[in-house]
Symmetry: C2
Subunit: 653 residues, 2 copies
């Protein structure tokens, strides 16, 4: 753990142990179910789904098989994300068989690599003479970035350098090919990703070339004349996706102006998140204030004008993109799982740049809602799109809802989300704590143990909690020697009342709080205990009146968890239910339900449909009848039978 400057750092995964709790269970689910399931998918072994062919593509490129490239132009990235998820799991849970499997894939990758370092199975197999001719659409640098991330993770997990060396050699090739010089390609990726991967290479190698290459990609972006248009012209105006003219809309790629001048989130939401994360990563290395300010403006725009209550972002199915401020339709919401994952990445980096509760509040919102919703209880079905309102009949019959699947899917033709959620949950330990030279920050509350070295001493903190279902947290210090450091505890933004005890003595947190965190500076000794009690009532949440779809509506939230109604518990016609704003809503933890969740129940009213004629319109107002509703965590929806789902309920004042 090297500390380069004053910014907060990630606690590496090897220092984290997760036991149970919601996040620990999801992490275990990835290990036990998702990684083997993804392996089947990558090897065309999922019945009833389109073949991924991702592994076979590598085999073909390596000369070990014959055949055609099948899949998306970025199919390699699915393998990279799988390897990255495997690496994180191997870090904390060694598994020789899994490691052998990964080694075999890495051996293939090494074999597929071209003598000059180039690596991309689509181009190697299909268009070997078209390399680097379509940066805008064809994801070569994106795939490279994902494989670099996998290489770093695998090296950190196993100490094995093979994949790292492969990717360093590819990175060297890219550094040779790309740059502002006349004899180089002056371009940058259509889908950002390599920027943050290069920072990882830099951190692990301390070779500034990689940081500088990341900086080149970030700084070159959006310069005029547009590289994407120049290469398009050079290609003779051909497109890889002829149905979609993306290139004439540069804001789709966040390439409409230099990143330092961007004020609003535009275009493809995942690209945006990866770019902003890369910008923040670069700033973490350079301290570039201009970049930090741009990150903050973009953060503000996303989280104050373009984010669902679930942390979902990118509301439009068309080009998977952001639209205008406050345009957050619930039924046609895209809110791609990968975009929420990207928001988690961005949030963590922003927090490390300038610690403050807002970043982790958003990170937690995205994680417990818009990310976890992407994976089923059994880890074998997924949502790519995460709407906040589903009426299956409408999804199935309306063209403008065709991206909204009312049922979790076994796989996707574009399968970016399943391995992305796997790599995030496999590395979730890294999001719990942060540290610097004299402090350890507890960002997320979840059953876990962390080892950190502060002021030369090895300290362990054991965290016990049933969060997010209960608000009690116990932290116990294990150390050989007393050490003075600051234990920094997050008070979630949704929390209105928190109580703190240190070694049994009540502490007034108002004196210790700054920007959503409480700073406990003390000589910590072995056995010291901190108890935090975060009040976690059921909350009724209202929406900014500029979000027109939510006017007159209310959502249910408890702690960081957003709730929804499902038809399975509440019958059909959920849209005709009204929640009185003064109704009492009761939480109940149910160990045996949906993998163990807290449900919320209470009285509501429903429009009495039977009282209405067969007319479409009438001067008679509705009549209502009393009903009981039961809400389940949004992330857990559609784990039973198919049916309607609704987050924003009509409110009755």
């Amino acid at each position: 753990m090297t500390v380069n400057n004053g910014y907060l750092k990630v606690v590496p995964l090897e220092n984290i142990s997760l036991k149970g709790g919601l996040l620990g269970n999801k992490n275990r689910l990835v290990r036990k179910e998702v990684i083997p399931y993804l392996w089947k998918a990558l090897n065309n072994q999922l019945p009833g789904t389109d073949p991924s062919n991702a592994i076979e593509n590598i085999r073909i490129a390596a000369g070990e098989a014959e055949g055609e490239f099948i899949g998306m132009v970025f199919q390699d990235s699915d393998v990279a994300k799988w390897l990255e998820a495997v690496s994180y799991q191997l870090t904390t849970n060694p598994d020789q068989e899994l490691e052998r499997l990964a080694d075999s894939v890495i051996a293939l990758i090494e074999k597929a690599q071209q003598p000059d370092g180039y690596l991309n199975t689509y181009y190697i197999i299909k268009e070997p003479d078209k390399k680097w001719t379509n940066l805008a659409e064809c994801h070569e640098l994106y795939c490279a970035g994902h494989m670099m991330e996998a290489a770093v993770a695998y090296y950190q997990a196993t100490g094995k350098r093979k994949l790292l060396d492969v990717m360093l050699s590819f990175a060297d090739l890219i550094a040779e090919k790309f740059g502002t010089e006349e004899n180089k390609i002056n371009g940058y990726p259509g889908h950002q990703e390599i920027e943050l991967a290069l920072i990882k290479l830099y951190r692990i190698t301390e070779d500034e070339k990689y940081r500088d290459l990341a900086k080149y990609f970030i700084d070159q972006r959006g310069k005029k004349p547009s590289y994407f248009k120049l290469e398009w012209e050079a290609r003779g105006w051909t497109s890889h996706w002829p149905d979609q003219d993306k290139i004439s809309e540069l804001d789709y790629f966040q390439a409409h102006k230099p990143v330092q001048q961007q004020n609003a989130a535009t275009g493809h939401a995942v690209r945006a998140m990866y770019m902003y994360s890369g910008m923040a990563d670069l700033a973490l290395e350079t301290g570039d204030e201009i970049l930090i300010q741009a990150c903050q403006r973009l953060w503000d725009n996303v989280t104050r004008k373009k984010m669902y209550i679930t942390g979902g972002i990118g509301s439009s199915g068309h080009l998977e993109s952001f639209t205008v401020d406050y345009d957050l339709p619930n039924d046609t919401a895209y809110a791609e799982t990968c975009a929420a994952i990207g928001l988690v990445f961005f949030a963590q980096r922003m927090f490390h740049l300038q610690p403050g509760a807002e970043y982790i509040d958003i990170m937690e919102r995205a994680l417990y809602n818009g990310v976890l919703s992407g994976i089923s209880e059994d880890g074998q079905k997924f949502f790519y799109v995460n709407p906040l309102e589903v009426l299956p009949e409408v999804c199935e019959n309306r063209n403008d809802h065709k991206h909204v699947k009312p049922t979790r899917q076994k796989w996707f033709g574009c399968a970016c989300c399943p391995p992305n959620i796997a790599r995030l949950l496999a590395s979730i330990g890294e999001y719990i704590y942060s540290y610097n030279e004299e402090s350890i920050y507890v960002n997320l509350y979840t059953e876990s143990t962390v080892d950190v070295r502060i002021k030369g001493e090895d300290i362990t903190i054991k965290q016990e909690t049933d969060y997010p279902w209960k608000g009690k947290v116990n932290l116990k210090i294990v150390t050989n020697k007393e050490v003075e450091f600051t234990l920094v505890l997050r008070i979630p933004g949704w929390c209105r009342k928190a109580e703190l005890e240190v070694n049994g003595g009540q502490i007034d947190i108002s004196d210790l709080e700054d920007n959503g965190y409480i700073y406990i500076d003390k000589n910590w000794g072995n056995g010291d205990q901190v108890n935090l009690k975060i009040s976690m009532p059921v909350e009724k949440v209202y929406s900014n009146p500029q979000i027109r779809e939510n006017i007159g509506k209310v959502a249910i939230q408890r702690g960081p968890v957003v709730y929804c109604l499902e038809e399975a518990d509440n019958g059909s016609n959920l849209a005709s239910i009204y929640l009185p704003v003064d109704t009492e809503l009761k939480p109940e933890f149910r160990d045996d339900f949906l993998g163990g969740v807290t449900t919320i129940s209470g009285k509501a009213v429903k429009i009495d449909k039977d009282n209405w004629s067969t007319d479409l319109y009438s001067t008679e107002n509705y009549q209502y009848r009393s009903i009981k509703i039961t809400a389940v965590p949004y992330f857990a929806w559609n784990n039973r039978k198919n049916g309607e789902m609704l987050v924003w309920l009509n409110k009755m004042d």
Copy 2:
């Protein structure tokens, strides 16, 4: 006026005179502004619009010019509808110059006609060897139908047979080519229209061949194997619209099953309306009960499950189509002007089959709202799509709103609506009255005079009223001789209280009312007067709770006119306005405003945006402030500056 059976009949246009009033004014607008404007459009004389080229296409086909066919495959139909509108105007308002212009067009059409009777400029110019090979997509029979309607109208208006003879000869060719026999084409039109046109030819010629050809097209439709698929295969699976696979979805064409077995409105809404109208026309000639029952089922499905409060139908921009029951989004509503026009056609025919108020209630709803909304106050700008909620920024930036124009348009690449609204409003007189051997029905209230021959006597009825702005109607009988007949007056479905006086004596209408009409059977003498007073308070209208977009909302209606809020009168953020259900709303007729309309004003509340933080979500409920709202007739919106518009307001119970 021949009476073939017991069904009600249209009173021909030559027997109607319109003076002023809303409908009379719109009729005059068509004469003074729209017909000349359309002529410019058809001749490529509208600056800043795509050239229609429709007249030039005919000139080229006639050998009078050289050049390429330009425009839609159905471009001829725009000329046909213009000629039809011209004919209706010439019937009531002779105009030698206009008639000469029409004659010149007809002379061109005659010249363009092929020796065998064929007529379609697209095929004549562009694909002369591909005639009748793509009935599904290429509108030959549709264009033929429109030109037949024009021919009948022009003959009735002027007595000139040239266009009629041209179209009878084409109809004869079609009758030769099409049929169930093996040596004939067993197909039917992709876009219905010719069916009702052929009934018009039959009525004017009394030649059963045309009725039978209409019956063939109706009966053949939807038989298995599908003709559309067979011809598609025969063409080698080529498509005229390669981007849209329509042919594999036969319900788009209402060709998924025989029409007699259809229960639900499907597919393209205009096609559906024209087909149902053709079915009803055929039933009016044959008394076919099975067909009448099918018409009634389809009517019920449309008007009880798939119709906006404006009478707009076909909610989906994708393929301009119906979707599922109760799926009526306001902001993405398609509700094509032509579809509302088609609903007017269908309603009139259903009423003639089986008189009852529901048909004319719907006809009136469509006419005063979803149809009139399609044309601007100056007659030179149009809406093709008629949404019930518009936020310009969203329309301009969201792909799933791209069909929704927030501004009335000067012209369209597919320009079906402007000439369609012209022909309807030019013939609006035909919708006011109906008659049979012993009765005259007054369906629409508007300033007008009608001449009818009943029991051998010529009777004139003079109607004076300020409807739809006022509910008082005065009817005066002019006759040389007392005649016993039944004067049948509609009591609109929205009316809760009506008072009737005959020659000054109050009559209890409850004794006379049947199915929404009051039947006044009497020896009517010259100077007899009937005064009807229809109570017309401002109504708050609620929506069937199965229409989820309208739950918790209220619309304002007065008489048949649906109202909306515009930004011009009410500021922005219309979606944050609440209408208390007990608020008093006051009508005020304003002669100088929007061409003379009644506006409606009252107190409402608006969410106080200034009281909200910059957060997107909060546990603080809204605060409201009192405002005054002013609503304008929906049809009159966007005649001032651009801005938001909203029909369904939040209601506050």
